[in-house]
Subunit: 225 residues, 2 copies
Amino acid sequence: MAKDMTLLWGSGSPPCWRIQITLEEKKLQGYNQKLLSFMKGEHKSKQVMDMNPRGQLPAFKHKDYVLNESYAACLYLENQFGGQGDKLVPECPAEQAMMYQRMFEGLALNQKMADVIYYEWKVPEGERHDSAVKRNREALTAEIKLWEGYLSKGPGPFLAGKTFSLADVAVYPSIAYLYRFQLSEDRYPKLAAYYNSLKERPSIKTSWPPTWLETPDETGKLKDI
Amino acid sequence: MAKDMTLLWGSGSPPCWRIQITLEEKKLQGYNQKLLSFMKGEHKSKQVMDMNPRGQLPAFKHKDYVLNESYAACLYLENQFGGQGDKLVPECPAEQAMMYQRMFEGLALNQKMADVIYYEWKVPEGERHDSAVKRNREALTAEIKLWEGYLSKGPGPFLAGKTFSLADVAVYPSIAYLYRFQLSEDRYPKLAAYYNSLKERPSIKTSWPPTWLETPDETGKLKDI
């Protein structure tokens, strides 16, 4: 039981979900946790700020060690609890290289997705331009095509080959997010197959964002991407 | 001799420099390398695109394994060549946690720095707003103050404590970049002391951006931050 860990998280946030998946994979259940609401601004509450001065979720601690950056937390947990659960960093150098490469390319996917989905939230009204919206959507489309290509050409079925790894931990939440906002399964069939095949993996199913189960996404923001 | 490695790089680019520092630290000299010019658009050349379809530098390979994302390359090199040169991931869990945490916070520093320095390059003329420039500068100032605070409160002299680690590899190039654009040493004395103390470290001195040695920065873009 991981009683010496605490996670403050928000539903659907890819960074939060990455840590939750890693904790499940490493058999670190039973940690202290609290679901907070971005809508209510709870990520700026004193409880969060005390752990994460950036006022962001996740806020995560093991003992006194603060690990708020999701990639940092995942790498740390794999390193410290390597012998528990599934190994998330492949030993084979070729697979390991691809694992790290895809894991970090995931940050570009996540950024480009946020640029499209949260444009109106991030850019004040007087600074918005249709040309920027168009450019962001084109950048996201090009990015998604890259991933569709990786999954078409790769050894599969996972992002770094034959085993589930930190590349999947890091990138799957972003891919699920794309489909939450109604990305076309027909236009990106390899990505859709990957998305659907991992839905039932215990670490992912158990940690599936609770708000996604309650309400379907009606915005369809990505359906024409 | 690291004859089975190839690095295509640009002078001053923090992502390129991270890999160069890591290669020096891991005693992996003698690799194939080519300095390319961003100004001449050589990062979009066929030679780069063949290794890095994103058309970005660095483009890096070990044998046939492509590792273009700088964080991916650094983690891979440390993992594969752990027994050579200095160990870059501390074993002590507290130091290791801080190492990963600071390493990944470095991405926020780098992003906020780029948002200020490259605003005119990134945002087309018709989409530029003084309010955005002001907001970006405020965000960078707040970010730099965080790092000044970390260095004031931390165990030091390095970012994760008493030993040079991947946190320094990842973040030092961004901090050097701030001073290249004339950040005030007086206003951020801890950061300046850290910057100056590492200038002579062999891995850093050897890989210092050659264009920085040739021409001083005259833009002073960050001198009022």
